[in-house]
Symmetry: C2
Subunit: 413 residues, 2 copies
């Protein structure tokens, strides 16, 4: 947790309503941080449907292995998350640590260990001493309350400068349902995964397979379209739980993701995931500006996304944004290195509404002053038209500042 | 050209012998920089064999297009290089600029325009006014001298903090030949290409096809194994010229690259290219340390190289090196995100001779003090054993410092 809050932080937090069927509590176990909470427990009143997407890293953390093994079971009774230690690359000790945590949580909740989900975030390679919190899980379960989302978001922060929460409502078959989510960043953030940690809960009644399809279908344009530093974490975990409490209001259980009754829910879920994903980018380590990159006219949507990420991950583009320099030459470079088809003589580039390049050269009507005015904004839209096809994609990133270097030259994360 | 020379700069420059058959001159055209040379002309006494490798960018500069078109002709009489403007993404104006330069150079040297090679480095997207130097090419050709390598290297610098030169000798059929080279960096440097600009000349007598095979065969383990910032330039150009002057000493012309007489030359060329490539890394923008990454035990050499580059391009690894932090957890992360096969429980990592991780966890005998001592060195060897096969590769990079951000937040390159 940094002393200085990102200038891109939300100006206010939404009122987070309780989601029926889930309660939470936090604890201060002193795993790494002092004077703050570092353990979160989520408790489901009855078995909740569960879906998850995880890092594609070939060296995933022990909790990621643990969650993947439990996921086919499809139901969850509890979640335990700690910050300060990622329990990654910890070998046999790491597996012992997840086993102890799961056993303690299952005893506290009176459920099977395969109904427990775990996540850890923080330093890689240090053994995680789960005895620091395994003994308090029973107390945490007993004291869990529903109106605790902002505190839950705080307990999972590492280098984040603000907690990340979002809420949406939707209707399924005329019954109102709520979706709440929390997330944490703020470095080692790259797509092709979920982000580091995010937990979303709804009171809707949706079967596990449908829930997984909904989640997998929403992640590509949200969490998988953000990047802070191109570095994919060993711990990336995005989970979606459905408590089913809305069935008490007459919501019929949804069995398949193509059910027409999900129209409103699907939109709300995608909107919430995008909200959380953008909050992660806006708290990227050292971030002072957010860049929204829209690529159009590529050969395919996938090609557009690769071009977008090539731009978003370019240190030279990101430092130019930090320097408020409308340096579109570096955008050309990043398009060129993406490996996707591009025709220099058809390329056009806009910062905001200012077209800076067209037909393979500087726009003859280009105004440096107008482009510079765009670069002075906190939120900078960049549009690149490739001119070859109909593929399009939008990705988001932040600038690369001296503070990113300072944070990561000092902090062993 | 920066006021502060990289701490990793060579302590001294080699005496660069003249290479028979080539002479050079420089001029100050004021293209962007003041009070320094910014145009280099190389003149070959008689048609020299030529080979080249160029950026794989889909948006190459006008000079790259020009060189590629001439290369099948196979012989060169002159080279014109300017710094301060890359003549990239300059559309029709860019082609007019290369045409004017080539025409002026060909007139000055009394040769065809298809015997002229061009390169430009500097800002992208600004039209290059070739009239600033096209008028002086005849004078430059007349005043060219052979003993001018260091000055030639200085004229092509942009954000480089020191000129990069190297020389080697070899023998072909008992006849001594010389190879001299110059290069420039220092940002927008990533493999999958040559680096930005490098020109190498030998007095050996080697046919163009053989010369190209020699160059292409040497680039993968040298220039294509370095990265400063993962950003591939639009202008990357590495050219090798053979004047053939050694034929006066009785060297028989080499027609094919598999000629056994090339054994010594091949080693010398690879060694010279590696020397120049490492000089580029050591002058990476803001660099304070060089990291040599050796990956062993991967599924293939190509897999080892991709893992090595994943580590070398990771901002989190590079900032840890800047912070002198033996943060091997970030190395695990970078191995995991490379997409190549890796087994967490077989991975081992060394900084220098200090094994920090083994068998999927921290080395039980790991000494933080010993690892930190390695990190305080200017040159840091990092070894990663994957434990799966026999693939191996070595790549080089520099650290990511606040100075990189400062240089690229201010400089429109």
């Amino acid at each position: 947790m940094s002393a200085t809050v990102s200038p891109l932080a939300p100006k206010s937090y939404p009122d987070m309503p309780a989601v029926r069927g889930v309660s939470m509590s936090t604890a201060s176990a002193g795993i790494k941080y002092k004077n703050r909470t570092d353990v979160l427990m989520m408790v489901f009143d009855r078995p909740a449907s569960v879906a998850g997407v995880f890092t594609k890293s070939k060296c995933p953390s022990a909790p990621v292995d643990f969650c993947r093994a439990n996921l086919p079971h499809g139901v969850a009774r509890g979640v335990v998350v700690n910050s300060g230690n990622a329990n990654a690359f910890t070998g046999k000790k790491g597996r012992e640590s997840t086993a102890l945590t799961a056993k303690s949580a299952a005893q506290a909740l009176g459920c099977g260990e395969n109904e427990i989900y775990l996540a850890s975030t923080g330093v890689i390679g240090e053994p995680l001493d789960a005895t620091k919190f395994s003994g308090v899980l029973a107390d945490m379960a007993n004291s869990a309350t529903g109106d605790f989302w902002l505190e839950a978001a705080k307990a999972i922060m590492t280098t984040d400068t603000y907690p990340k929460v979002a809420t949406r409502s939707a209707e399924i078959g005329g019954v109102k349902v709520t979706i709440n989510g929390i997330a944490k960043g703020a470095g080692m953030i790259a797509p092709d995964m979920a982000t580091m940690l995010s937990f979303v809960v709804t009171d809707a009644d949706i079967a596990p397979a449908a829930l997984q399809a909904l989640l997998s279908g929403s992640v590509e344009a949200t969490f998988n379209s953000i990047t802070v530093d191109s570095d994919t974490s060993t711990s990336d975990t995005l989970m979606l739980f459905a408590t089913g409490a809305a069935s008490a209001d007459g919501q019929s259980r949804i069995e398949t993701a193509d059910d027409a009754a999900l129209a409103s829910f699907r939109v709300a879920l995608a909107d919430l995931l995008k909200d959380l994903a953008l909050q992660v980018v806006r708290d990227g380590e050292g971030a002072r500006k957010m860049l929204e990159i829209t690529v159009t006219g590529a050969e395919s949507d996938a090609a557009a996304k690769r071009i977008g990420l090539s731009i978003a991950n370019s240190p030279l583009v990101k430092t130019a944004v930090a320097g408020e320099d409308a340096n579109w030459g570096r955008v050309v470079m990043a398009v060129g290195k993406s490996g996707e088809m591009a025709d220099r003589d058809r390329l056009a580039i806009w910062f905001g509404d200012v077209r800076v390049a067209v037909d393979g050269e500087r726009d003859p009507d280009y105004s440096e002053a107008a482009a510079t005015a765009v670069m002075k904004q906190e939120d900078i839209p960049l549009k690149v038209e490739i001119g070859l096809g109909n593929g399009k994609a939008t990705v988001w990133t932040c600038d690369l500042t001296k503070e990113y270097v300072a944070i990561n030259g000092d902090y062993r994360s």
